[in-house]
Structure formats: structure tokens, C-alpha cells
């Protein structure tokens, strides 16, 4: 019997994992870490939905509730969503998909993970020390002058984790530029690579702005002088501009990689080449670019100039064009395809539907007059959860299923995979669709109690959250099970075209036995007859 060493059997000690330079192992380290944070953020969300099951604020106090939604936001945004697809699947797949031996800077890659963990420790320390109640947005002057919670500690955590994002982005950009296999020109790159490349550009351009802005908040809180507090001659709108200059593009950091995943899965299970490849690539770049020009739509009612509001409104509508190109092209890819409803495909189809709803309701919020009514209501909460959870989390899970055979060398149980995908789709809609209605009826966000007439819809939402919880625990269970008991995966279980499927599952240490050469574009699927 010949034992071939793959990256998983390259060492079994904890030390061999914690000192690895292999991008695939680092991806697994990230997966473990972000899964822990996902369930931490999920626990906070569970408490929120339990509190909101009844109109009275009876489960937790108003202060505790503020801390719960702050933890939920901070943990989910910076410690789960932003690193999710780029740091786990991007790390694992970018070198494989472009035929490289590793990321351009393997040691920097490992350092990024440690930076992430360090940032996480600061944030957890802040939670243990009593939490923060500013919301994930840290609006001044509340965060600098009034709150007595652990703002500086959390800011340090977010600041540190930002450098993990920046370094991962840097690594991906250089890898894509310098390590593509012979014959792999830019317009032969899989769309997943385009998406991660564009995401990395945003990480590089936006994250430092947030980092410095948060430093300024911490300094202002610490020294009592600064540029954000009006009592000190500062301007709170300046903070909001700087914060959203990062935080709006951050939405695209979360959704672009998800779009990249959908663009891999849909052609594979429709057995067709992706419709309009170049348009898809340009749309990714278009979204990344426009994403930097729309931050003011978070500030329509904050007192910014009306003319600025009009410009930001118009630019926000423009984002719909490349987004719609993507949705139409995924749909057109399905047309006359031979569609297999495998678990990854169910996630991807669910993603397209949920992203469409999330995107269209974004247009409500981009229009000035409607936003005055809808801002700071549950409509906004529902909208961004459709994008971030319905979009990013669904596609993160879809990606985990699709590439699970490659990552683990095992097949997951297909039927359970499909059941989980459907459970998540139903649970998600039950949780968040009622929140659109609640917001439309005027229920504001961030309160732990509400008038009794909103209870029915809130009950639907809380019930949906319970279904969602089942949907998230299912994959945790059966993916873990498959690590030990799953069927051994062949190199290419889906008959997919990417380079990553041409190497064994799991791949050997430096990915390919010999340097692959690319002779055609991506997604060259033959129709099933």
C-alpha cells in the first residue's frame, strides 16, 4: 500500500499546525477560529430574539440588551463575516485555483492568523470585563464621552484584527499578480479569484481608514481632547463620514466573495459555462469601485448637506446595475442547463434569491424620502441581514460544502446537506422577512421592548431564529461527523473544471505534483446529454 502524504497527514501534533506555513492549514486554523466566533455572536443573537419574543423588557435589562446587540454586531462583522470567505476559502483556494504552490508570503499568512487571534482575545477580554454598549458603530460623542463601558479595549481588538484583514488582502493581491500558472491570463481566472482580488483591494483601501478612525476615538476618550466631540470643537459627522467610508465598502468585503462562490457553484451544477464571463468580472470590479462612493447613504438623516444626500442617493442606485448584471447572469447560466440540486447548488440558489430581495430593498433605503421613514427601523436590520446572512453566510456554507471534499478528503452526507440548506432558507426567511414588515410599520431598532401590536411579527421572527439555529447546528454536526466517517472523496467528485480539482483530495503539501499549465478559459463544462 502506498501512502501519499497530503497536507493533513503532514504532521499531527498541535505544534505542526500552529507553526505551519501551508496556506491550506492556515485556512483550517481560520475556519476553527471563526466558527468559534460565529457561535459566540450567534449566542448573543439568540438572547436578542428571546428578549424580543415578548413586548415587555423582561429577560434582560435595557443596558444588557445594548451590550448584547453590540457583541453580536462586533463579533459577526469583524470576527466572522469579514474573514469568513477570504481568510478561510480564499486562503485555501486562491493558490490552488491559480496553480501556485502557496500564497506569496506564507509566513506573513500565518502571522495574519495570529494577529486575528490576538484581536479576538482583546475583544473577548472586553466582553469578560463587562462588555460594550455603543453598538458596533461606536458613534461619537457617546463612545468618547458618555458610555462607561469598555470601548477602548474593544476598539483595540477591532484595530488589531484589521491588520489581519489587511495582510490577508495584501497576500491575495500579490499571489494573484505573481503566481498564476503558465497560460492563466487574467480573463481565464475563475470568478472566485476575481471576487477575492477585488475584495482584497477593498480590504487594503478601506480597513486602514477604520483603524485610524478608531484610534482617534480611543485617543479622544483617553485624553479628553479630539476632533469628534462638538463640545471640544469637533464634529460627530466627521466620525460618521470616516466610519462609513470603511463600513460601507465592508459590506462588499462580505458579499463579493459570496458572489465569487456562487459563480463557481452555479456553472458546475448547471453543467454550463457561466453566462457573460467578462461582464461578471467587470461587474465585480464595478461593485468594488462604486462601493467606495456611496457611504453617505448611511447619513441621510444625520444632518449632512441635502445636496450630498442627493449625490449619494444617485450613486447608491448605480450599484444596482453591476449587482443586477450578476443576478441576471447567474439566472441565464441556469437557462437550458442540466441542473443538479446538490447541497451546494441549493445554497447557491437560495443565495441568489435572498441576495435579490436584500438588494432590491437596498434601493428603498437608497431613496432619500423613503429612507427618512425607514432609517433606524427593523427594515434596515432586515435589509442588511438579507445581504450579510442570506448572502454571505449562505454562500460561506455553500462553499464549505462544495469544497469540503477538497478540504477534508471526505464526502459529507448529501441528504443532510440538502435538508440543512432548506432549513436555513426557510428559517432565514421566517426570521427576517417579518422584520421588513415591522420596520415598515415603524418599529425602531435597538430597543429591548416594543408596543404589543408588534408582538405577532416578532414571534414569527424569534421562531424563525430557532429554525435557523437548527440549520447552523446541523452542518456543524454532520461535517464534523464526516471528518471521521465520511466516504473518501475522489479528486473531482463534482466533475468541476477548476485547477483545484485536478489535484488529489486532500491536496499534497505544495498543491500539485507537477506545475499545471492552463490552455483554456474557466467553466468549460460539457452539457449532459
Amino acid at each position: 500500500m502506498v501512502t501519499v502524504t497530503n497536507y493533513l497527514s503532514d504532521g499531527f501534533t498541535l505544534r505542526s499546525w500552529l507553526t505551519t506555513h501551508d496556506h491550506k492549514r492556515i485556512a483550517v486554523l481560520y475556519m476553527v477560529a471563526i466558527t468559534a466566533f460565529f457561535f459566540l455572536g450567534g449566542a448573543a443573537a439568540t438572547m436578542i430574539r428571546l428578549e424580543l419574543a415578548t413586548p415587555q423588557g423582561d429577560l434582560v435589562s435595557a443596558d444588557t440588551y445594548n451590550k448584547l446587540f453590540t457583541v453580536h454586531g462586533v463579533v459577526m462583522v469583524w470576527f466572522f463575516l469579514i474573514p469568513s470567505i477570504p481568510a478561510v476559502l480564499g486562503n485555501f483556494l486562491v493558490p490552488l485555483m491559480i496553480g501556485a504552490k502557496d500564497m506569496a508570503f506564507p509566513r506573513l499568512n500565518l502571522a495574519s492568523w495570529y494577529v486575528y487571534v490576538l484581536g479576538g482575545l482583546f475583544t473577548v477580554a472586553a466582553l469578560v470585563a463587562g462588555g460594550v454598549d455603543t453598538g458596533w458603530t461606536f458613534y461619537t460623542p457617546y463612545s468618547t464621552r458618555f458610555t462607561d463601558s469598555n470601548v477602548i479595549l474593544v476598539i483595540l481588538g477591532v484595530f488589531i484584527v484589521g491588520f489581519s484583514s489587511i495582510l490577508t488582502g495584501l497576500n491575495i493581491i500579490v499571489t494573484v499578480h505573481k503566481l498564476r500558472a503558465p497560460g492563466l491570463g487574467w480573463f481565464r481566472l475563475p470568478l472566485f479569484i476575481w471576487a477575492n482580488y477585488a475584495t482584497s483591494l477593498i480590504l487594503l483601501l478601506a480597513t486602514p481608514v477604520l483603524a485610524m478612525t478608531l484610534v482617534l476615538v480611543a485617543l479622544e476618550r483617553f485624553t479628553g481632547i479630539g476632533i469628534f466631540d462638538p463640545a471640544l470643537g469637533g464634529d460627530p459627522l466627521l466620525f460618521q463620514h470616516l466610519f462609513w467610508f470603511y463600513s460601507h465598502p465592508a459590506v462588499y468585503i462580505m458579499i463579493l466573495p459570496a458572489m465569487g462562490v456562487a459563480s463557481e457553484i452555479i456553472p458546475c451544477f448547471a453543467r454550463r459555462t457561466v453566462f457573460g464571463y467578462r461582464f461578471m468580472a467587470y461587474a465585480i470590479l464595478g461593485i468594488a469601485t462604486l462601493g467606495f462612493l456611496v457611504w453617505g447613504h448611511h447619513m441621510f438623516v444625520s444632518g449632512q448637506s441635502m445636496y450630498a444626500g442627493m449625490v449619494f442617493s444617485m450613486l447608491s442606485f448605480l450599484v444596482a446595475i453591476p449587482s443586477a448584471i450578476k443576478v441576471f447572469n447567474w439566472t441565464a447560466t441556469l437557462y437550458k442547463g442540466s441542473i443538479f440540486f446538490s447541497a451546494p447548488m441549493l445554497y447557491a440558489l437560495g443565495f441568489v434569491g435572498l441576495f435579490t430581495i436584500g438588494g432590491l430593498t437596498g434601493l428603498f433605503l437608497a431613496s432619500l424620502a423613503l429612507d427618512v421613514h425607514l432609517t433606524d427601523t427593523y427594515f434596515v436590520v432586515a435589509h442588511f441581514h438579507y445581504i450579510m446572512v442570506g448572502g454571505s453566510v449562505m454562500m460561506y456554507l455553500g462553499a464549505l460544502h462544495f469544497w469540503w471534499p477538497k478540504i477534508s478528503g471526505r464526502m459529507y452526507p448529501e441528504m443532510l446537506g440538502r435538508i440543512a440548506a432548506l432549513t436555513l432558507f426557510l428559517g432565514f426567511n421566517l426570521t427576517f422577512f417579518p422584520q421588513y414588515l415591522l420596520g415598515w410599520l415603524g418599529m425602531p431598532r435597538r430597543y429591548h421592548e416594543y408596543p404589543p401590536e408588534f408582538q405577532l411579527l416578532n414571534l414569527f421572527s424569534s421562531a424563525g431564529a430557532a429554525v435557523l439555529a437548527v440549520g447552523y447546528l446541523l452542518p456543524l454536526g454532520y461535517l464534523g461527523w464526516s471528518l471521521f466517517f465520511g466516504k473518501r472523496a475522489p479528486a473531482n467528485p463534482w466533475g468541476a473544471t477548476g485547477l483545484e480539482w485536478q489535484t488529489p483530495s486532500p491536496p499534497p503539501k505544495h498543491n500539485f505534483e507537477e506545475q499545471p499549465v492552463v490552455t483554456r478559459g474557466p467553466y468549460a463544462y460539457d452539457p449532459v446529454r
Binding site: 500564497m103 499578480h177 482617534l216 471640544l232 470643537g233 463620514h241
Partner: protein, 196 residues
């Protein structure tokens, strides 16, 4: 000896240069909110910014500018020397010493200004907040730069015609730090002269 994942030293050098350029873009945006905050503060309180800049030591600031510009020259000579396979220790030492001299003068300025800051009020405090934040962050970058140059000095024997990417990459960083100062100098020292 090329290292995984690169096939050649040339490939590795190109990747390192691209990475540093990308990092410097990030750095520029890292300074961004400070510059933005300065512009905002100065438009809102022009008079206070001018009066707050009054105690700045223009002569020392100008001298420091000259020192840093000279250090950029010596750094450039070190990079050129490494590419041509010449000895670079002298240039590296001069670069680090000029950087240290800058930091020394800056520290003495901080010392002298501290009494002025104690007297400041209102938007003048905003000016000093930005002054200390921006020049402090710049000094932090310069300190890191001096450390890097010292490291290059220690390993200078390794660099030559074949292998000099670390010198080039450090040079890019050093010039970036100098360019930041070129903006800081007029923003904090020359306000009064512009308005006079």
C-alpha cells in the same frame, strides 16, 4: 536559493516590491483620517489654528525637513549601491543617523511645546491634538524605519548585484515616511507665514 512558492529570485523580488507598494497605499489611507480631520478642523477654525501654530519652532522644523530630505538621498544611494554590488554600509549608517537626529530634534520640540499646550484652549487644542497625533505617528514610522535600516546594516554583506530586494523594499518605505513629513511640515509650521 529561491523559496516556496517562488521559482526564482527575480519573481520573489517583484512580489516583494509589489507588496510594499500595496502596503504603502494602505499606509497612505491609514494617515488619511488625520489629514481629513486636519482639513476639517482648519476650515472650521482658521484663526485658532493660526494662533496655535504660533509657538511652533519654524527653524527646528525646517532643519528637520532638511535632515529627512538628506536621509532620503542617502537611502537612495544605498539602494543604488546595492543594485550595483557596491558597499552600502556607509549610506545605511548615514541614513539611520539622520533619522535619529530628526527624532532627537523632534523630542526637544515636544519638550519645549508642552508648556504652550498647557495654555491652549478651544480649537487650539484640536490643533495640538492633531499635531501630536500626526507627528507622533510619523515619528513611530520613522523609528520603525531606523530599526529596519539598522537590520540592513547588520546584514549588509548579504546584499549585492544578485540579491538586494530587502534594501529596495526598505527604501520605498523610507521615502514614504519622508513624503509624509513633507506634508506635515507646512501644515503645522508654516501656517502663520501663509496667512501673514
Amino acid at each position: 536559493m529561491p523559496t516556496i512558492p517562488f521559482d526564482s529570485r527575480l519573481e520573489r523580488r517583484e512580489a516583494a516590491l509589489l507588496a510594499m507598494w500595496a502596503f504603502l497605499v494602505t499606509e497612505a489611507l491609514f494617515f488619511g483620517p488625520l489629514f481629513f480631520g486636519y482639513v476639517h478642523g482648519r476650515i472650521a477654525n482658521p484663526a485658532a489654528f493660526v494662533s496655535a501654530s504660533h509657538p511652533m519652532h519654524v527653524v527646528l522644523g525646517t532643519l528637520n525637513t532638511a535632515l529627512l530630505m538628506t536621509s532620503s538621498l542617502t537611502m537612495a544611494l544605498a539602494v543604488r549601491g546595492a543594485q550595483q554590488g557596491k558597499a552600502i554600509r556607509l549610506w545605511l549608517a548615514l541614513t539611520a543617523l539622520l533619522g535619529l537626529a530628526f527624532l532627537g530634534i523632534k523630542a526637544s520640540e515636544y519638550w519645549m511645546e508642552s508648556s504652550e499646550v498647557a495654555k491652549a484652549s478651544g480649537a487650539e487644542l484640536t490643533f495640538y491634538f492633531l499635531y501630536f497625533a500626526m507627528t507622533g505617528l510619523h515619528a513611530l514610522h520613522l523609528t520603525i524605519g531606523i530599526g529596519v535600516v539598522a537590520w540592513l546594516w547588520r546584514h549588509a554583506a548579504r546584499f549585492g548585484r544578485e540579491y538586494h530586494a530587502p534594501v529596495e523594499v526598505s527604501g520605498l518605505y523610507w521615502h514614504f515616511v519622508d513624503v509624509v513629513w513633507v506634508f506635515l511640515y507646512p501644515m503645522f509650521y508654516l501656517l502663520e507665514r501663509y496667512n501673514a
